[in-house]
């Protein structure tokens, strides 16, 4: 769920690790891209978990997007390497006034069931997201008051408050467009009969076993997709998934851990290794106890040796995190880089100044799987060196999230954050006092104003500068202890060409083909 699967977000940083991959990245081509890609073939993917729902309005975790993108498209798309918004099903958008967003829609798009995509269909989807009791996108659309089909191929979103981040939000789950006729026809059964406008049409979903898609011959992008179909084989264990590719039973395995790199190398598989905007931080509850003191939070930031942590947990391959966005992200703020460079002496001084010269006891929770436990142990050892003693309680992913965010039972949590499509939405989710992901329920002075300012500037460059101020407030107040960014590590047979990882870490297969 949420944060947990918070577990799968990503993009390309030190692009790929082999010379070939590096060269390809330098020419901005997807891995294995060739001048003319062959059409045909069904890509067999080993995927680590099944979708929570194939109804985009009801889905519950980031991992669903691998299954949703073949069928559905968003109103707003994003550049894979920077996450900058770009036209999707909406060709353009503007804010005629701060509380109205007008979007022009494509006129050449039909759903897989033959019904047209137009303003009425877009309004139907957004209204459903706003009002359906089971909707999981209500929070994303919280700033929207009403939706109007202002033209045959135009919609107007009337807002409760100015929110320039809305186009970015509509490039996420809330912006996925489904066939209104199919939703009305199938009702609750739509999740097993999803119909969108994407490159492939849904064929079947066998629970925890298989999800299949076949080519949409009427896809709006001429020449795409290359593949005749995609079969997702649900294989929970990543080692088993990798073995299935080595044995030739699947073509592609997603979300491997760096620990599996020797096996991938030995098997001679192709792979992509790409930094994502997903981040492993120490989440802090700074509403009470020692962490309410800014000096203690800063001490924790100084006490963590991020490079050593990266080497111990990720073979040193991932990007170290100083803020909440990696260097490739358009909202990356260089101002906070190296702000809390490893300095155990300074950490001890700050702790002593805060009245903890003889050490400090804190509680931490996190998932109980092997990889998470390794991360927790490394952090605990590093903090122990400056006198911070951690009492750790490990739980399942969902339970650790509940214990920390909802039950407020611990001082810290170590779990992956997957990020949001828009950077303001990311800061809002992480640090606004009303956000379910701010366990403290408080925020520093000036944060709300800075965040509001970031949501009121249309130009991306100007927004990046304003977002830099938000990043500075977060860093100055040490609201979180960023550790490393997650990496999207996928392996595949050498016949698979054209796979392009992205900063969101969400698998998209439009450009994938088999070798001629």
């Amino acid at each position: 769920m949420g944060l947990a699967e918070i577990e799968k977000a990503a993009i390309t940083r030190r692009a790929m690790m082999t010379g070939t991959l590096g060269a390809l990245a330098a020419t901005s081509l997807p891995y294995g891209a060739v001048a003319a890609q062959r059409k045909g073939g069904v890509l067999r993917i080993s995927y680590g978990f099944q979708p929570t729902s194939l109804d985009p309005t009801f889905g519950r975790q980031g991992g669903d997007f691998g299954f949703l993108y073949p069928v559905f498209e968003t109103l707003v798309d994003w550049e894979p390497q920077s996450l900058q918004p770009k036209p999707g099903l909406a060709t353009s958008w503007n804010f005629p006034d701060p509380k109205t967003l007008v979007m022009k829609l494509r006129e050449d798009v039909v759903f897989h069931d033959g019904t047209p995509f137009d303003g009425a269909a877009a309004k139907f989807n957004l209204d459903r997201g706003l009002s359906d009791p089971k909707s999981t996108v209500k929070a994303d659309l919280a700033s929207v008051d009403s939706v109007e089909a202002s033209g045959k191929h135009e919609i107007a979103l009337h807002l409760k408050r100015p929110n320039i981040a809305l186009p970015g939000i509509l490039s996420d789950r809330a912006g996925l467009m489904a066939s209104p006729q199919a939703i009305q026809k199938f009702g609750d059964g739509f999740a097993h009969n999803p119909i969108g406008t994407g490159p492939w049409a849904f064929v079947q979903w066998r629970d925890n076993e298989l999800v299949s898609y076949r080519r949409n011959d009427y896809y709006r992008v001429k020449g795409l997709p290359y593949l005749d179909g995609v079969d997702f084989h649900i294989i929970a264990d990543a080692n088993t998934g990798l073995r299935s590719v080595i044995a030739g039973e699947n073509d592609f395995v997603q979300s491997l851990s760096t620990a599996q790199k020797p096996v991938v190398d030995k098997a001679g598989l192709a792979y992509t290794f790409a930094t994502s905007q997903g981040m492993f931080p120490l989440w802090l509850n700074y509403a009470k106890g020692p962490l309410a003191d800014i000096r203690v939070r800063q001490a924790l930031n100084y006490a963590v040796d991020r490079d050593a942590y990266n080497k111990a947990t990720e073979l040193g391959l991932n990007e170290v995190a100083w803020g909440v966005f990696p260097k490739a992200h358009w909202a990356y703020s260089a101002g906070v880089d190296q702000a809390y460079r490893y300095n155990p002496d300074k950490a001890k001084q700050l702790l002593a100044a805060a009245g903890f010269a003889n050490g400090l006891d804190l509680t931490m929770t996190g998932p109980n799987d092997q990889r998470s436990t390794q991360r927790q142990e490394v952090v605990m050892e590093q903090l122990k060196a400056v006198g911070v003693r951690i009492k750790l309680t490990t739980l399942s992913v969902n339970d650790s999230i509940k214990a920390f965010f909802y039950d407020k039972q611990h001082d810290m949590l170590l779990i992956l954050w997957g990020g949001r499509a828009d950077p303001s939405a990311t800061y809002d989710a992480l640090f606004s006092k009303g956000s379910p992901f701010n366990a403290s329920g408080v925020e520093p002075d000036g944060f709300a104003d800075a965040l509001a300012a970031s949501q009121a500037v249309p130009d991306l460059k100007q927004r990046a500068a304003v977002l830099g101020k938000v990043a500075q407030i977060v860093s100055d107040n040490a609201l979180i202890v960023p550790l490393v960014f997650d990496a999207q590590y996928n392996a595949f047979t050498n016949s698979v060409k054209g796979f392009e990882p992205n900063l969101f870490g969400r698998m998209r297969l439009d450009t994938v083909s088999f070798e001629s």
Binding site: S46, Q61, P133, G189, H192, D207, R243, A247, N398
Partner: protein, 319 residues
Amino acid sequence: MPSFWGLRWVLSRIFHLGPVALLATFFVFGMLYLVPGDPAITLAGENATPQHIEDIRALYGLDRPVVVQYADWLGHVAHGNLAVSLLSGEPVAGEIAHRLPNTLLIVAGALGLSILIGVPLSIAAALQPGSRFDLWSMAIASTGVSIPSFWLAMALVSVFALGFHWFPATGATSLSDGLGEALRHIVLPAVALSANGIATIGRQLRVAFADALAAPYVRTLRAKGLSRAAILWKHCLKNVSVSLLTVIGLLANRLLGATIVIEIVFAIPGIGSMVVNAAINKDFPVVQGVVLVTVAIVIAINMVVDGLCRLIDPRIARV
């Protein structure tokens, strides 16, 4: 034709199914509630506010007392359906019907191998008590009991699937898609699962055979000049068959549980992997459905074993 007492025995065993299934499902339902976790949080999605989580809890009826929720599920069962999955919304009965054959095929394969190898092994060892063969075979049997099935499974995959490419490394095929392919898929899982079964049958029967062979009636049979084969197959095997059936029954029940790990290692869509996923996500209807079906299978196996034992040794029926 079954006697009146035999028929009564069958009916009484079937009658026992109800209370046992009721107890087992209630116990599991309660356990799921006692361990930490909240399905409402899972169902509410990533950005849910506490209010939305409470709304979802009410929408799915998860805010009702545990006993009421259990009674609700029981009501569904009484009407002949196992409700729908909380997470996928799919009928549980359909999912179980789709996956159960895969699990049963592996269990049957492992059980068959255990009997085919374990029984001759135990006889050979019992015929040469104290010999090198006896010592070595029982030592290997002890190792078989100790080897974790998941480790053996991965070793088998490395050698026979990834190395020689003789068998698939993952997946399962339905019998309706062709017997040959279905069997090819279950060979490695069944072998991995049977190591423990071979060892168990081998060790248990070796003792039973040794006891039978040392019995006075065998000495009398030998003195009468009966051949070794006749003594073994006609007289000893009949005497140890009750032990054999009991071991097989227990083994079948154990294998049914042990498939969970094997299904995960081989990515086989069976009821084992289904219940693990459901338990982690607290998908109560799925867990309950699988438990109910498993309890029914275990009771059925026990009933068949008991019935066969009564046929072989009528003295048991009189107890």
